[in-house]
């Protein structure tokens, strides 16, 4: 039988609740030795200048500027200074979240709203954001273009008070090898927003790092195959994600204010999409990840041997929903539906 005592989960201190998420440009500027210094750094970052180019600009500026103007001695020095500046919403923390066979496991992360703040502090990204549902149609047919043209957004928006906006959170995670030999690997989780128009979202700077998930290590191969290890692995994965997104629960009833340069938006945060490869999908939904099990699809309950049948009609395809899956687990018949006998943390999110 499964040995429940193999691992223990540790609580983390909750993140403080705020009313307003301030992304206006005035408050988020780090402190520089002088105003000109700051302007120069902004220039360098905005145009993504090389050190050589930045140095030449510096040289030129020094020639024409007053003597009391404080500028960095070189681009390199300026960058080093920038790295040292402590911006509170960019710092990560490391917490101990699980003990498995006396081995501690740590989650390195930052609060989810800090990540959102970083993303939206980029003026150009914010300008390409839409917070309200709008319906597009062409000759009586609906057009599905962006997330905020879809029916999910419409449903969500309709469930909120008038004037409230939707903040659609997309999480993406995948195990990534960090060297060519494949010896070290990390498991980053990235965040992006469905509010951003897709051509902008597809650029690299429209995603931010939320944290690194811990990876459970087994000492022996037989331990790796043991039921207890797999259970601990699933629990660790779900628990880590739970910690990452837990702050969202604090705002499900009242939302929060998003303060931009010239406006205040009343937003409700929602998780809209979780992206991943197949093993990832199975871990998120707690379904069996073998293709040989009776119901291999994480989204529906079609039997494995019927998945290749293109002629199934709509009513033969039963989708998995929170309600039915919960019921299967409660009744203890989860195994029959290729579902792990465990509570899924996502059930309680709005």
């Amino acid at each position: 039988m499964i040995d429940e005592t193999e691992y223990s989960l540790h609580d983390v201190e909750p993140t403080p609740i705020f009313d307003t998420l301030d992304i206006s440009s005035t408050t988020n500027r780090p402190e520089f030795p002088s105003e000109e210094f700051g302007d120069f750094m902004e220039l360098v970052t905005k145009w993504n200048l090389s050190d050589a180019c930045a140095n030449d600009i510096l040289k030129f500026s020094r020639k024409i500027c007053r003597d009391d103007v404080k500028l960095p001695t070189s681009a390199k020095q300026a960058r080093q200074l920038l790295d040292r500046i402590n911006v509170s919403h960019l710092s990560f923390k490391k917490v101990h979240i699980m003990t498995y066979k006396e081995e501690p496991y740590h989650l390195r992360y930052r609060p989810i709203f800090d990540a959102i703040k970083e993303l939206l502090s980029n003026k150009e990204i914010l300008d390409n954001c839409t917070f309200e549902f709008n319906s597009l149609s062409h000759e009586g047919q609906r057009i599905y273009y962006e997330q905020y043209n879809g029916e999910w957004w419409e449903r969500v928006q309709n469930s909120l008070p008038r004037l409230a906006k939707v903040l659609s959170i997309i999480l993406y995670s995948d195990a990534t090898t960090c060297d060519h030999l494949g010896k070290s690997s990390e498991h980053p989780v990235y965040l992006t927003l469905g509010n951003i128009i897709s051509w902008r979202r597809n650029k690299p700077d429209a995603k931010v790092l939320l944290g690194y998930l811990p990876q459970l290590k087994a000492k022996t191969i037989s331990q790796k195959r043991s039921e207890g290890f797999r259970l601990a692995k699933r629990a660790l994965y779900q628990y880590s994600l739970d910690i990452l997104i837990r702050p969202l629960l604090d705002y499900q009833s009242d939302g929060f204010d998003l303060k931009t340069d010239n406006d205040v938006l009343w937003c409700y945060p929602f998780i809209s999409v979780m992206l991943g490869d197949l093993p990832e999908n199975a871990a998120l939904t707690l379904t069996f990840n073998s293709a040989n099990c009776s119901h291999p699809c994480h989204a529906c309950l079609v039997e494995g041997d019927k998945l290749n049948n293109a002629k199934l009609s709509d009513d033969q395809i039963v989708l998995r929903t929170t309600g039915t899956m919960k019921a299967f687990v409660d009744q203890g018949v989860a195994q029959q539906y290729s579902l792990h006998d465990m509570k899924n943390i996502f059930w309680r999110y709005p």
């Binding site: 047919q141 609906r142 057009i143 599905y144 273009y145 962006e146 997330q147 905020y148 043209n149 879809g150 029916e151 999910w152 957004w153 969500v156 469930s159 909120l160 008070p161 997309i170 993406y172 995948d174 469905g194 897709s198 499900q252 009833s253 009242d254 809209s272 999409v273 979780m274 992206l275 991943g276 490869d277 197949l278 999908n281 998120l284 939904t285 990840n289 293709a291 040989n292 699809c297 994480h298 989204a299 529906c300 079609v302 494995g304 998945l307 290749n308 049948n309 293109a310 199934l312 395809i317 989708l319 998995r320 929903t321 929170t322 899924n344 996502f346 059930w347 309680r348 999110y349 709005p350």
Partner: protein, 204 residues
Amino acid sequence: MSFNNIYLTMNVSHLNIYAATIPDRMHHLDLGLFNYQVTYTRELLKEWCGQIAVDELDNRLARIPRFPGLKIFKNGLENIKRFTADEFRNMMKVFVFVIEGIIKKHHKTILSANQASKLDAALVNAYYLWNKMYLYSRREYFLESDLNDFEVLCLAPYVNCFITYKILPFNCTVYIGSNCSMGHSVRTTLQKILPFRTSIAKTA
């Protein structure tokens, strides 16, 4: 405040994790299904025609003249296990033309000439329809009728290629957006419109 609370508790959760979890296109299509389709085609050629056909395939791939932006597979598909998504995308561009005629030319004697040319045509068609579906998946927007067209014009014939000619042991998930998730956000639809499950295909 209390009004909001009442308002929200009346509604059930909007997050259905089983529908919100989606495979991303790169893993799903490029590295998953197309990879599988190509690997399987090679095995198929070996069975129907012998090693000579597989060599011919590699040869044809290697002999494509250079073209800016197109990757040429000088060593054929020797290193297919180490290919990246970019390489598979390049393969899609040329595979329809590369595959044509191989079975006709090299088929074993157990197949009649008629059978061989039929199989050949079906195989080419499968790759053609695949490309069509792949392009669909990259569209920026969809009309409701597009989703339907996808099913009727691409997916159904694609599946038929396999069922009629038994080209691949078709064990991939075949159901599309309209069944599974139309009415979800469009991004989701975009991914869900794609019919297959990567790993299922891999183990088939």
